[in-house]
Amino acid sequence: MVNKSLIKKFERLLGRENVICEETDRHAYSFDSAVLDPVVPELVLQPGNRDALADVVRLCNENELPLTVRGAGTNLSGGTLPAREKGVVVLINSLNRILEINTEDLYARVEPGVITSQFAQAAAENGLFYPPDPGSQTVSTLGGNVAENAGGLRGLKYGVTKDYVLGVDFYDVDGELIRAGARTVKCATGLNLAQLMVGSEGTLGVFSEIVLKLVPPPAAQQAMLAVFDSVDRASETVSAIIANKILPCTLEFLDNFTIRAVESFRGAGLPTEAGALLLIEVDGHPAQVEEDARRIREICQEMGVTELKVSQSAEEKESVWQARRDALPALARLKPTTVLEDATVPRSKLPAMIRAINDIASRHNLTIGTFGHAGDGNLHPTILTDKRDTEEFKRVERAIEEIFDAALALDGTLSGEHGIGVAKSKFMEKEITRGTILYSQRLKQAVDPKGILNPGKIMGA
């Protein structure tokens, strides 16, 4: 247990109401969005400003309390689960100020607790665009997005969170402020520590401020829904679009199982016999959008599209998007437990990956619906199960491991955007060498000798 005098110290530092020690309250911080067993922290702290956050980090280090920073707690790999012993959860949602949106130099400075979609909205109000749009964007924090290198639907054309991080200010374990990166697009001063922080899952420092790049928004968009009788056809279409030097901002995919789930959920008239469905959106200068959309229509026809719906208005765009938005809710309603994976393969290997997933599903007698980001090869095989059925859940765990193996055999990666956390730590060695893991561990040991920064995450088994 954390001793009483230390709790008093935290109370003096943060105010009593920001130190949460009642057991029942602590249970509300024992989970995130990953399907894992709960771990109850010993203490939950909610610092109200950046100085208090620095003191929290220093005090935790002095007292060897392992700390896990939590934004919205929507992590899908257990990255926000506290340490099993003496775990402290540090909430950053009080640090939620947008400090600056600079329309001349196209950057913004934010505190880590700012909510992603609120930030994107603020950028839009200033005539600018922040593209990363993870599925949890209405609740997720920018600090969490940076720590996990969150992706989203616009990866193919616009990249992911890492492509927008110019600088990160963070506290080391002594509570010293480290400033990394700059407010400029170019910066070659010193090690690129800002990018080292991206995707570090809270293991190397605690963020206090983030500088993000903004871009001018596209002037026009057009969305299309294309139906194919097979996954191969859809996938070949994706390749053909890109081979024609067109980079859609969104290229999303739904498999047959997901199409059927969405249709029984919404009843919008999707063809339930279709093998695959693509949601394609192009954006940019109106003339370019017009030209790209026309080319894509032609390519779809050449590839034997069975149905093509093109949005002509904002309302139609919404209805074109609806099927994709419905994918997860429709699948999630079929069974109590939803295990959402994010194995990613090179784009051209998509049909092979989907075949592998379907084989795994039938081999283990499991229900798996697959949708995802066809443009960047990032699929979301979604296993529908009931974790209370321990026998079935064992099969789910075996299936997950086989999905990883299949992705790696196709030159892919374990995680496209959900991170390693605790869920995938033990699988890291399948993808990267022992040497790479040891190098990472030595790096961590050097900056965090007591191992208090989110231990057990990302650093391998």
Partner: protein, 441 residues
């Protein structure tokens, strides 16, 4: 120990519903409390985990879980936004009842739910006494809103701005009514709900005028019995069931085609919570509950059915007419998906220009007894609503739930800006011919 086992058995019936939560956290985006506190135990996902851990014995603190469950507006924003369709409000209502039964009621709650609410005559007497003496401890706060506040520091009232109780409740003023329907009309039971019966009597009078004007025959019982939601949300299933039984007795065998209420909370309770809780009752009782629930309609929905669709005027910034805006009560919009009917009633009155506020369906923060137990938090949520109302520049804000009206009066009165708070049906009633309006007065 045997009792703990009973608690666990009862909670286990919620297991299937709890398992549906994938802890995605999307409820954070819409929860009015989470917006204020940023705490997981204030949002649906966190509370569901607490119930789950209590049920699976990872946590052994029924009191603590009950306390946190009560810190909830039951607005249903989370349930409406939930990607996996978890019936969050149903789970919370049942969990409150199960834990409440296990722990027993506090003496105060026992007095209120088992004695006062069960004895309408006693309530009437108390109302007379309170109405006669309220002037002694309160003073006027806002003449347009008609609100008052405490003269001196008062422990329960604190700095609330409230509306006075009527000297005589509506059902006393009117007595039992049983009139036949006119040609083309239906026979409707009228259930005013406690707040219309005791505070917003004009809403009740206007409602009756409108129903009569349409040729409906009215049945109004001689006593007002509470719909039971305050008892149930405080965990008193027994008190709740007794109240439900009394209302069933009142309206059965009266030949009504519909039961009409001007209170969004009462409508939602009778239509959704009664059948939900009827699962615990024997079969014949379940059928009685379902029959009345099926007949129950919100008054705005009922009246709007007879209205022709008006072409929507473009909302212009400048207008000579007084501006009116509308607040969606959670129990109407989120529970029953009724949002257009009250707006149609407002647009049917050409004397006003209608202007939407930003996020009209954001909860006002009232939450019934939540406001009593967590006034500061209720006020924080309510002030956001007040700001949204003021930003429209409206002279009048309409809604369709007297509980929301209490909160809007309090919050607007505190801003010092005079905005009239009315029920949507009152605005529509202004279009009635003078004669029909006067009939009742």
């Amino acid at each position: 120990m045997a009792e703990l086992q009973r608690l666990l058995t009862l909670l286990s019936e919620l297991d299937d519903q709890l398992a549906g939560c994938m802890k995605c956290g999307m409820c954070q985006a819409v929860c009015p409390l989470y917006a204020e506190t940023g705490r997981e135990m204030d949002v649906a996902r966190g509370k569901l985990v607490l119930v789950e851990h209590l049920s699976s014995q990872l946590l052994n603190d029924p009191q603590g879980v009950q306390k946190r469950l009560e810190r909830c507006l039951l607005c249903g924003s989370c349930a409406k936004a939930c990607p996996s369709g978890v019936p969050v409000v149903d789970i919370f209502i049942k969990a409150r009842a199960i834990i409440g039964e296990y722990l027993g009621l506090s003496p105060t709650k026992k007095l209120i739910f088992r004695t006062l609410l069960q004895k309408p005559r006693l309530m009437d007497g108390m109302q007379r006494l309170a109405a006669a003496t309220q002037g002694l401890f309160s003073k006027q706060a806002d003449p347009i809103l008609g609100s008052s506040c405490a003269r001196l520091s008062a422990p329960v009232i604190r700095d609330r701005h409230f509306l006075p109780l009527a000297k005589t409740p509506l059902h006393r003023e009117l007595g039992e009514i049983d009139e036949p329907a006119g040609p083309g009309g239906s026979k409707v039971g009228f259930y005013p709900g406690c707040l219309v019966d005791k505070v917003f009597l004009d809403v009740g009078r206007d409602a009756l005028n409108l129903l009569r004007h349409r040729g409906h025959g009215i049945f109004l019982p001689g006593e007002q019995v509470c719909c039971g939601i305050p008892a149930l949300s405080s965990g008193d299933r027994q008190g709740f069931e007794r109240l439900v039984g009394r209302i069933l007795d009142q309206f059965e065998d009266t030949g009504i085609d519909y039961l009409i209420t001007p209170c969004a909370t009462c409508t939602a309770t009778i239509r959704t919570i009664w059948p939900l809780m009827a699962e615990y009752l024997p079969q014949p009782e379940q059928q009685r509950v379902q029959n009345l629930a099926d007949k129950t309609r919100d008054i705005t929905e009922f009246l709007a059915e007879g209205l022709e669709e008006l072409p929507r005027e473009p909302e212009s910034e400048s207008t000579d007419k007084p501006v009116i805006t509308y607040h969606d009560p959670c129990h109407l919009e989120k529970t029953l998906s009724i949002s257009q009917a009250p707006r149609r009633l407002l647009r049917a009155n050409p004397e006003y220009a209608f202007r939407e506020m930003s996020v009209p369906d954001r909860c006002c923060g009232m939450g019934g007894s939540f406001n009593l137990q967590h006034y500061d938090l209720s006020r924080q949520v309510g002030q956001k609503k007040a700001e949204d109302i003021l930003a429209t520049g409206a002279d009048t804000v309409a809604t369709a739930c007297p509980a929301c009206m209490i909160q809007l009066v309090d919050q607007l009165s505190h801003t010092g800006k005079s905005v009239r708070v009315v029920h949507a049906l009152q605005v529509y009633a202004e279009t009635l011919p003078q004669q029909s309006r006067k009939e009742q007065q």
